[in-house]
Structure formats: structure tokens, C-alpha cells
Amino acid sequence: MPNQGNCDGEGGKALRVLETGNHLVALAVRAAGVEVVPAYPITPQTQVIEKVAELIAGGHMDAEYIPVESEHSACAALIAASLTGARAFSATSAHGLAYMHEMVHFAAGIRAPVVMANINRALGPGWNIWCDHQDSISQRDTGWLQIYVASHQEVIDSVIQGFKITENWSVMLPLMVNLDAFVLSHTYTDAEVPEIEEVREFLPPYKPRWKLDPRFPVTHGSVVYPDDFSETRQSMQIGQNNARRVIKEVCRDYAEVFGRWHGDMVEEYLIDDAEIAIVAMGTLASESRVVVDVLRQEGLRVGLFRIRFFRPFPIEEIRSLGERVKSILVIDRNYSYGMEGAVFTELKGALYGFSNVPVRNLIVGLGGRDVSYELIADMTRKAISGELGEITWGDSRITPSHRVTLECLEEFKKLLG
């Protein structure tokens, strides 16, 4: 809860608070005027829904909380609530997101403009509650828009921007706000939460284009034969394409009203004169910003290109990057087994036919392994000097306690001789 009251010094209405990333999600949900929140608890998301439940119970938020019995149900209730014309939100993580996968597709297919926070966490087995992006990357092809945030303040602003983007009639696709487990979800930082009235002006109550209305009965999600199905899917791609423009407009307007800018599709840092660009998402991008500063002090021309929206994918922005830098290092906190890091694949796909700039892939931070700026700096130096292989699992450790997993890995490599 706010611990300092109004103190932005500018006479504005924002509240400065010292809160966890998870609680900030809840405060943003309240500020956004969300009316229905179905949710099921999972570490590390629990504080989001606990806070929402507490705000509602305490009379600080006027919304329906549905304590569903599974994530599959959470997403089903989210969809149905949205289709009545109410503004609906949910939050989940990892196994929860995987468990609702069917409904994740459903939400996009039935064009429910909902926002869901996903606290990025590894998928087991082995059980691991810590951060990586495998959960949301695995939902890549569902039709949702995906934001990856890099700071506490961006958590709040992305939830509010998210509703404005998804509810735009030219988009009407659900939106996932992804924040890194523990790095953002459980750490406290001060942040600014806009007042409800101020947000209401920016984001008026949801006006649905279609809904469940007895005065105008419509059948939603009926049987669609092959003669029509492809067009329904094309319309989802049109929504994604339209979102590129809507995202830019919303982020620009948001900056005008609230004075904060986190980038739109992407965020660039010292790219203009850079020879090598580090491409990253989420808090690894924040870590990489430090790397840029450190390496620039060494005289290396390094820049940061943070992918903020993974869906729609920033194709044009990446093609422009390909024209401006001499090499690219992509950091993936996920892995597409049998291939490579997902961002690496996608980035190369966007560049194909437009740029021959060499691209390297660094796989780090899976299952919450700490990624230091020193490690990224070291790998970036190697990338510059041409020592880095195409794909590098960059953070394997050799300490006595980790030797068991490492030795098993070596044994497994030898199995085929």
C-alpha cells in the first residue's frame, strides 16, 4: 500500500510507493479499473492475487474476485467475464500458464481483450520456482501480445498501457505482461502509481465491440468449417499487425500524460554509434545496460536493444538495427529444444534477406541462475573478438557442489561415442 502519500512534488496525483513488483501489478490493476479478477495461486505469482483480494476485501477496489480451482478455469472465467463486456485481468506463472494453454489459445481465438500478468518462471521437472522465460515463450504462437518488462515502474505502466492496446477495436487480442520472477516480483523498489481518476481519463471503461447481450443475441465460437477458418486466423494476424501502430500511439500518449517512457516495441540504449548490439528481454536487458556502460569505458562501442514486445515481433526495428551495427549478441533466457534460443531464431528470421550481420546466441539465466553483468560483459568481449561460438551456454559453473550435474552432462554427451 502507499507508504508516502502524494509526494511527487509536481502537484500531480500519482502515489509514490515502495512495493514489490507483484504488489505493483495489483495496484496497477486497481488503477486500470479492472472489474473481474479470476485467479489461482502459484509461486511466484501469489502476492499479485493476495493483494487484489486484500484491496477488494478492504473496500479499496470495486471488482469481482473469483477464486477458481485451477488455471484452466482462471483463463476460462477470464474469457467469459470479458465477453460480458467487463474489464478482466488474471495473473499466473510457469506451470499455471502451461496448464491453461488450451484457454490461452481460446482467449485469442475468441478475441477477448484481457490482460494477464505472467511472472516468468522455469518449467519443471525438476521443480524450479525461479526465473526464466520458457513459460511465456512456449505460448508464443497463441495469438497473445507479449510485453517483457525490465523495471518495477514498467510493470505498472505496462498493465495500464496493456488494456489500452488490447481493447483497441483494431487489435482485440489478449495481452500478457511478463515480469521476471523474484528479480522483479519479490524485490521492493519505489515506483509511481497513477491515480484512478487520471487513469480513467486515459483509459475509459471498456466498450466492447461484441459481447454476450440478451438484447442482441450472438453465438460466439461456433463451428467454423475449412471454408471460413483460415480467414478467422488471418484476422488475428491483422490484429497483431495493427497492434504495432497502436502500441506506438499508446506508449507516446502515455508518455505525454504520465511523463514516463519505457520504449514502445523496443527500447534502445546507445545504439546509434554502436558496433555491437546486445539484444535482450526483461531484467537481463537491465543488466545489459550496465554492461554497455562498463564496456564503453573500455572504449568498446556497445549498445543495448531491448525487445519490449516479443509479440507482435519488432520486425522493422530489427531490420533497422541490422543496418546500423556490425554484429549482434542475442541473450535468450529460454531454449527451443532441437533448435536454439527463441529470440535468436526470430531475430535472424527478421533479418533474413535484409542484413548479413553476424549474430551470436548466449543462453543464460535458466531456472533463476544469477546472471552478473561481468558474465555478459565477458561474453560480449568474446563476441567482439570473434571468439564466441554461434550458440553458447554461457553460465555453466564448475564448483564442487555443481560438479555432479556437469559430470552427468559430459557422460551424456559421450553416450553415442
Binding site: 470495486d62 471488482a63 469481482e64 478455469s73 472465467a77 470479458s82 467487463a86 481460446f106 453465438t219 460466439h220
Partner: protein
């Protein structure tokens, strides 16, 4: 007194349905719509009813309808109920529409039981309607948790070896305010139970035995006759459960009170092709006896909820 002639004339189930001939779900929708009126919303989980609406861009259902995933019935209804509550608070609507979830036995007994149970435990204000055709008819007649002992399905080619679940009793165990069973052969009993369900706040569970002509292998003109014999033989018991008490209704009441003689289960089984494989075998008699025993047990269990028999 409700009579067939006094039922509302307005049809919310329009022409152009793609249902099979003699489809029990389409007959049931017609009666349910008449009882509930047009200020309602229908949620339909994957089932024959997803298919019989007609196909995009046309629909034979003249109430707002949300088709939702197989396992998501109770949750979909929960979301809709919460959404309408929010709209009413916002002043967008004056009266919250009746939310009705419509699913088959697969979507209720098997894949949907978690979602249904959750919605009931949360005391969600909606009607859950299960049309139980005792098999996965939509996917081509596979076994479900509602398939009775002895019945042939494509996944029980030698007849099912296990008894069916008694899910209405599971719903009673949720302490919801209203549970009722209905039959197409007793439309006024059906109509009145739907109207009562509409008038009660909380979770209401209504279950219809839905004889499926292609799945059960009987002529499509016999849906009502098979429905009637199911009740007369005790294989489908008609009752309602309210405020912790059960009340037998229609023909079941007369059988329990001894005013009408219960017909043998054998007659009911012989009307349907699905029991023929087991009845033709030596163990056919055993299956018949086990089903008679099941009927006796079900009646005894239900009587435990009826004040005059306790």
C-alpha cells in the same frame, strides 16, 4: 397448473439446427428456453450441442451463446456471472441475465467435473444443465463415466464392466440449493424444475437422461419412448433435491409409492442395440441383475434424503 398448452409460444430454438433426427439435446433446449425466457446467456462446452447450433455464420440459437472448451463449463459460467454482476454495478444493465451452462456427460462427469465442482463450491449463481447421453456421442460413441454397466460403446466393445457414477449425488454433496433430474417423456415436470431453478439463487444442477438414437442404436422416432421406459424401469429416477431434502416426482414418485409397478430393466435394455452384445452372451443375465441391483441401491440411497422414509 402448467399444461402443455399453457407453455410460452415463443421459440428461442430456431429452425436450421444441424442436430441428428430425434436428438434429445435439441428437444431439451426447446423446453428449457420456454421455461427460462430470453434474458439468459448460454455457455456450451464441447459436445453435440456445439455442433447442432448450425455452423458459422448462422446459428439456430436465439440467445447469446458462448462456446467454450470441454473442461471449462463451470469456470466459463463463473466468469459470465461475475461479468454481469460488474455490468450491473456499473449501471450498464438493470437485471443480470440467467446464466445457463449446457454440457454432456463427458463435459460433466469426466473432463468437466473439476470446473463444475469449483463453481458449485463457490456458490456461483447459475444453472448447470447436463444432458447425459451416457457416452461421448459427438466423437462417435466412446465410453464415459456415465456409461451404464453392460453398454456397448466403441471403446467398450464387449460391454462396459463398471457401473456409472451418480453425479447428481455428488452435486447434492456440494450442498447446493437445488439438484433435479428430468426426462423428455415428462416435459411438464422438466419445465417446472427449470422454472424453479431459475427462481433460486446459487448453483442449480439439472440432469437430463438423453437417449441418443445413433449412439444407443434405436430408431430416431423412439427418443421419447426410450426416455419414458428409462423412468418406468427405474434406470432413470426423477426427483428434486432442495433444502437438504429429496422429493420424488412424476412417474418415479408413483413407482416409489407403489401406485404404479416398476417395469423390469430388461425391457429397457432390449429396446436398445447398445445392450445387445452383452445380452446375447451368457453373462447377459448377470449384467441385467447387476443393473436391477443398481436401481434398488439408487432408490434406497435417495430415500435417505426423503423425510417420510427416514
Amino acid at each position: 397448473m402448467v399444461t402443455l398448452k399453457s407453455l410460452p409460444e415463443e421459440e428461442l430454438f430456431l429452425a436450421g439446427s444441424t442436430a441428428c433426427h430425434g436428438c434429445p439435446s435439441s428437444l431439451a433446449l426447446r423446453i428449457a428456453f420456454k421455461a427460462l425466457g430470453s434474458n439468459m446467456v448460454l455457455i456450451v462446452v464441447a459436445s453435440c450441442t456445439s455442433v447442432l447450433q448450425g455452423s458459422y455464420p448462422l446459428s439456430a440459437i436465439n440467445v447469446p451463446l458462448l462456446n467454450i472448451a470441454f473442461a471449462a463449463g463451470g469456470a466459463g459460467a463463473s466468469g459470465a456471472v461475475a461479468g454481469f454482476k460488474a455490468l450491473k454495478k456499473r449501471g450498464e444493465i438493470e437485471e443480470e441475465p440467467t446464466v445457463v451452462m449446457w454440457g454432456g456427460d463427458g463435459g460433466t462427469y469426466d473432463i468437466g467435473i473439476q470446473s463444475l465442482s469449483g463453481a458449485a463450491e463457490r456458490e456461483t449463481n447459475f444453472i448447470y444443465f447436463c444432458y447425459n447421453n451416457e457416452m461421448y456421442s459427438n466423437t462417435g460413441t466412446q465410453r464415459s463415466g456415465a456409461t451404464p454397466l453392460g453398454a456397448w460403446t466403441t471403446t467398450t466393445p464387449a460391454g462396459k464392466h463398471q457401473h456409472r457414477k451418480d453425479i447428481a449425488q455428488i452435486m447434492i454433496a456440494h450442498r447446493i440449493p437445488y439438484v433435479a433430474t428430468v426426462s423428455l417423456a415428462y416435459p411438464l415436470d422438466f419445465y417446472q424444475k427449470m422454472q424453479k431453478a431459475k427462481s433460486i439463487v446459487g448453483t442449480k444442477y439439472i440432469e437430463l437422461l438423453a437417449p441418443c438414437p445413433p449412439g444407443w442404436k434405436f430408431p430416431s422416432s423412439k427418443t421419447i419412448e426410450v426416455s419414458r421406459l428409462a423412468v418406468q424401469s427405474g434406470m432413470w429416477l426423477l426427483y428434486e433435491h432442495e433444502n437438504g431434502e429429496t422429493r420424488f416426482t412424476a412417474a418415479t414418485k408413483k413407482i416409489i409409492e407403489g401406485k404404479v409397478k416398476k417395469r423390469p430393466v430388461k425391457e429397457y435394455l432390449e429396446m436398445q442395440g447398445r445392450f445387445r452384445p452383452v445380452l446375447e452372451k451368457p453373462e447377459g443375465k448377470e449384467a441385467e441383475d447387476l443393473l436391477e441391483k443398481e436401481v434398488t441401491e439408487s432408490i434406497r440411497r435417495l430415500k435417505g434424503w426423503v423425510p417420510e422414509y427416514i
